[in-house]
C-alpha cells in the first residue's frame, strides 16, 4: 500500500528530532495533541539551532536540511 508521502516526511522528521534533539514521544502516544505539540516545540529548537526560520512546522527548507549529510552526534543533549 503506497505510504502517504506525508507519513514518510513525518517519519523522517520524528526520527531526526529523536536522534539529534532528544524528542521524547511514545511511539503510539494516546494523546495525539500532546505528541504534535512535542514535535512542534522540538522542531523550533532544531530550526533555531540550524539557522532556519523558526516556524515549528516542517517546511521545505527544514526537510531539506534534515536530508543533508551530517555528523551523527546530537545537536542538543547527550
Amino acid at each position: 500500500v503506497p505510504v502517504d508521502p506525508e507519513d514518510d516526511t513525518a517519519r523522517l522528521v520524528e526520527s531526526y528530532l529523536n536522534h539529534f534533539y532528544g524528542l521524547k514521544t511514545e511511539a503510539h502516544s494516546r494523546f495525539r495533541g500532546k505528541k504534535i505539540e512535542a514535535v512542534s516545540e522540538t522542531l523550533k529548537e532544531m530550526q533555531l539551532f540550524l539557522g532556519l526560520e523558526v516556524t515549528g512546522k516542517y517546511d521545505d527548507e527544514t526537510t531539506k536540511m534534515m536530508k543533508q549529510p551530517r555528523c551523527g552526534m546530537p545537536d542538543i543533549g547527550n
Binding site: F20, L48, F49, L50, G51, E53, E61, M65, Q68, P69, R70, C71, G72, M73, P74, D75, G77, N78
Partner: protein
Amino acid sequence: YVLTEGHPKWSTNDLTYRIINRTPDMRPADVDEAIKQAFEVWSNVTPLTFRRIEDGEADIMISFQYRDHGDNSPFDGPNGILAHAFQPGLRIGGDVHFDEEETWTKDSRGYSLFNVAAHELGHSLGLSHSTDPGALMFPTYTYVDPKEFHLHQDDINGIQAIYGPSLKPVQPTGHSTPEACNPNLSFDAVATLRGEMLFFKDRFFWRKHPQRMDNGFNIISDFWPTLSSGIQAAYENVEKDQVVVFKESKYWVLNGFDIAYGYPKRIHQLGFPRTVKRINAVFSDENTRKTYFFVNDKYWRYDENTQSMDKGYPRKIIKDFGITGKVDAVFQHEDYIYFFRGTNQYQFDPKTKRVVRILRSNSWFTC
C-alpha cells in the same frame, strides 16, 4: 560554539591516536595523511600534541564501521549520518567511527575524509555542535579544499576555552561568518540568477529572492564544491541561463547549479591583455547583450553576440559612471545599475548617466 555537557577534557595535552582499519575507497597513505592533517587543524591552535601509535590502546581510536557496530549508535548506510565520535574519556572515550558505506575521498567527490575527521576530532576533544553555519563544528557536511582550509574563529574560541591558547608566539586567528545585517558588510561579488540575487562573501553567499523574507544564507561549496571560496566577480548571462564567476585569472560557467564542462578557463581568452590579473566586478546588460568588466579604475565592454571585446576600451570608470576608484561588485536590476564599494552602494541611472542614490551595501536584505 558549545562545550560538551559536563565540559569533559583530556587530562594531558599529549595524546595518542591509532588507526584501527582503513576504508578501501582510498589508498592507505591517503587515509593516514587525511587523518594527520585533521589532527593538525587542532594542534595548530592549542597546546595539544597528537602521536600516532600502531598497537595497543590509544586515547583516540579511529575506525571505519558498518551499520550496528556495538556502540548503540548504528550507522544508516550511504549519506545521512557520515560519522560520529565520543567525548574525552577512557575506552570508547575520544574514539572516532566513520560509516564505511560512505564514499571516502581526498577531494570534493563523495565525502572528504579530511573534512569529516577534522569535525569528529572536535568532539573527541570536548566540543559539541556549533550553531555558526561557517564553523567546522556545525553539524552538516561541507566540503572545503584541504589546501584552502582555515579553522573558523568560532572553533578556535571553543577549543581554546577547553585547552587554552596555542604555544606559538603569534596566536592563529580564523574567519568569522559574515552577517547579513551587519552595517559594515561589503561583498566580493553580486549577480542575478533567474530572478534571485546572489551576494558572495568569503566562503558564503546569500540567495535573495525579492519576495522572500529570509536572506537565504548558503555556503558556496555546498553548491559548487570546487569553487569553495573567494569569488571576485560574477554575472548572469540571461539569454544562456548561465552565471559566469571569476576568481583571480580564471572563470567558470555555471548552468544553474552545475559547473559547465571544460572550465575553468583563463580570462585572457575573453580578450583581456596579459596585464590584467583579475576582475573586480562585472555585469551584463541583457537589453544590449553587452558585458561590462571593471578592473581597478578602468572598464572593458564585451559583446556577447560576437564574443569579443569592443574597440576603444578600456575607458575610465569615473568618466562614464561617475564612480571613483575600484568597484567591489556590480549588477543590473530593472533600469538601474548598482555599484558596490565597501559598505556603500551607488544606484546609477544609465539614461541620465548619473548616480541617483547612495545606499548601504546590504540594503537588499531583510534586516
